[in-house]
């Protein structure tokens, strides 16, 4: 079973297109986790990040299709953080969630292959595709976000590994930050830069489609640009879209529903802070607070599921 098939089936099974972004930050961890930090060492924080993310995974695993750990926050702790990232990815895939590592990696040729080899391929996905789960990658995630600045020949090594390991990538097309248009919206003749990237994504997918018409090359398209989201849904009919920017960054449910296909699949909508730090949101703080932060995570996830359905 391919990555695209797996993610669409997970959407059907859970009835949700929510992707929970795992972005641990020291200062925002719930008090019960921060209180255990005695020596302020990277190892102590890494242990807290693992516990935080694994508890979130346990709380949301039956109501969302996927999670997206943000590599940067783990790397911020140094090597200890990278151990934590591996533990979190393992816990999530074993819990039945699809894991998209958000690393925005890329490089040339054989170096791109090294990144692909590092992150792409979970034991669960490889086994589901009839392969040997011992061939999973060291980090063992199902998918990785990839930056396109180095061009087509920097993406192809990732695609090769996707083919071998039933994995996927999400190429940055239109990012959710206010300044995303600086390069992405440059007009080059008939098209914008982001449209050229979308074309590249589609061309890489065409020979790799599953029965529903989806390939392993997804695309990141921010919720903060609703018009381009609709346009890019049409321009990349074979791509699972990963839509960041919902919630804390300002994207609304009506804005992002255009990312879905007619069957309500084909895209996942990410929320990080709004879910994982829900205990600090005004509407949840009194009811749950730090002590019941896991219940706040569950409530915020269900709220987002409901918003995206209605």
């Amino acid at each position: 079973m391919t990555f695209a098939t797996r993610i669409n089936q997970a959407i059907s099974r859970t009835g949700s297109v929510t992707c929970v972004g795992l972005d641990p930050r020291k200062s925002q961890l719930p008090a019960p986790l921060r209180e255990h930090i005695r020596d302020n060492s990277p190892h102590a924080w890494a242990k807290a990040y693992t516990q935080f993310c694994c508890e979130i995974i346990d709380v949301v695993k039956d109501i969302v299709p996927c999670v997206k750990p943000q590599a940067a926050f783990f790397e911020q702790l140094g090597p200890a953080g990278m151990v934590s990232l591996g533990e979190v990815i393992h816990h999530a895939t074993q819990a039945g969630l699809i894991v998209i590592t958000d690393g925005k990696r890329n490089d040339i040729g054989s170096t791109a292959t090294a990144y692909a080899d590092a992150y792409l391929g979970s034991a669960v996905a490889i086994a589901a595709a009839g392969g040997d789960p011992a061939g999973a990658s060291p980090w063992g995630s199902d998918a990785l976000t990839v930056s396109p600045y180095l061009g087509r020949d920097s993406i192809e090594p990732f695609v090769d590994v996707c083919d071998q390991r039933a994995a996927g990538i999400f190429v940055l097309v239109k990012t959710s930050n206010p300044g995303g248009g600086y390069l992405q919206d440059l007009r080059c003749g008939e098209q914008m830069v982001y449209q050229a990237v979308a074309e590249l994504v589609t061309s890489l997918n065409v020979d790799r489609l599953d029965a529903d018409g989806y390939g392993p090359i997804g695309a990141v398209v921010g919720a903060t640009y609703p018009e381009q989201l609709a346009e890019l849904r049409a321009a990349m009919p074979h791509s699972i879209l990963l839509v960041p920017g919902f919630g804390a960054q300002g994207g609304a449910a009506d804005d992002v529903r255009v990312a879905l296909d007619d069957s309500g699949r084909g895209a996942v909508i990410n929320s990080s802070r709004g879910i994982i730090f829900a205990h600090a949101r005004s509407e949840f703080a009194e009811k749950y607070g730090d002590a019941k932060w896991q219940d706040a995570v569950r409530a915020a996830t269900e709220e987002m599921n409901d918003q995206l359905k209605s």
Copy 2:
């Protein structure tokens, strides 16, 4: 002392603009290192990578200004490889070398800050700038390569950390791979995409110049595009250039000398495979071979220094 000042002083001190790329690969390690791998575990390979890179550092530390570990090859080993990367960076900075971590990282806003916080700032550089070396980053490198696809507001968080920690970044402008032009050479009105990135780099440097006119925002410009290298040297007069693609990728000494300023500084030329796997090159294999691989590294580094001088 700023990053740019430090790198130009290191060029003057060593009389070299060579940057040694630390790209360890399992299959190409010299036999004496491969022979110690008994259980094929990531930990065993990570230990071999650390030994390989640290021995290279010891061999070249008095004849080159800097080294560039490629994060991807360390990540390929999983968490154990990231421990090795930290050890290698620490060994190199303690040996007096400037360390450019090649991670091509980037993300939006506070996530970009996390990457900057993770990689930028060596204890040596911070102490040389009069700061507290305890403020060094977990990975402790002097500089990081950064991808520009997310635009100006994704680069600025890195610049802020450069200012705080006497660090530098190298923004990808024109990469050395054959397909680098796919996006980078798109013509957008008056300029190409890579020229827009060069303009951004220059605009970020102007308020941050040292006595020689250099700022902390360097640029990656491949040796494989000599004409653009000369053009970009002129377009980014305040940037240290990091020039990959020399040697194994095809760039020649005459091609890359245009990257230097009138004083023979302002750029470093990277070679990875041609130096670190010199023991396997036909011209060195017989004289040194695997047994004296360190001597081959030294000879290849001196050869490159000579080529770039003549």
